[in-house]
Amino acid sequence: MSALIIDIILWASVAALGFIAWQRGRLILTTAVREGSMDFINIVPRIALGVIGSGYIAAVIPQEVITGWLGPNSGWLGVLTAVIGGAATPGGPVVGFSLGAVALKAGGGSPQVIAYVVAWALFAFQRLLLWEIPFMPARFVWFRAAVSVPFPFLAAAIAMAIGRP
């Protein structure tokens, strides 16, 4: 259901921007459509490899290794483990969030799980290699990732300070 809504918003945005481009002139619309289609054709092989292959990577990574040390008394070492685990988690959002949920149910501390989810969102290696590097200049991607390193720790610190969730 929510996937349908997202698709509708997505294609409505494409249509709206396409309309604006068409108003600016036919040439702008056709140029943009041609550029976008070329990008699409270039990107499909990489995405095919990643999406079709990611199931195998997810199947062989032992999940308990990722969630093993996130207990409430694990402190900053647990946060560090969570950050590394988040970056190393393969697969899409189902895998990332499910592991987070497993860690919470298994008695993981909230700050550690927050750090895990934030690190996964920022650095999951598979998304970096599969989506971000193909679409963005590699220099930007590494710079963005390096600059983001402090933030899962900051998120964990805020969670510890406010005692939530």
Partner: protein
Amino acid sequence: MSELPLKDPAPAADATDEPRPGRIRKPIGWSMIVIAVLVAVSATLVWRRDGIDGVLEILTHDLALFGGILPRVLAGCLLGAFIAEILPHEKVSRSLGPNSGLKGLLIGTAFGAILPGGPFTAYPVASALLTVGADFGATIAMVVSWTLIGYGRAVAWELPIMGTDFTLWRIVISLPLPVLAGALGRFVYVRMYPKAAP
């Protein structure tokens, strides 16, 4: 020896054959090779553990996933291309460029938060913004905002799997992070590449 004084910082080799920086280039990079090797090794391990049935089961599931994602990838590429064509360069560099200040980071954050879709839209659009004059800081704010406070993934995956309480607090805690990441990005960027600054 005599060429020492000539040792100007050589312009990036790819600058010459890349008229549109930030758009998609080389068909196969080393990242693809890393992924291909990882996939091959993992598929072999699955085959040894679960036999050919295990391999085929994962393959059919992922093929279905791939088929479902393809139209969205096309939509994302079109969005990026439209943005690159429509947005006026001077305007973008004024509101999202290196001198856009806190306002630029806030605009990048807001843009990332409202952007529809998944990685198939966020990265082409971010790349388009870089092309039309946004700086690293504002683009970092946009990408980090999309990944941390964007509603798409939170509504579709995080709420049902992690629960409302966790998701809402996680987002509240994440609110300041995109602006901070963008500011840190700018701070480091002008020190790493002092020549690039205007």
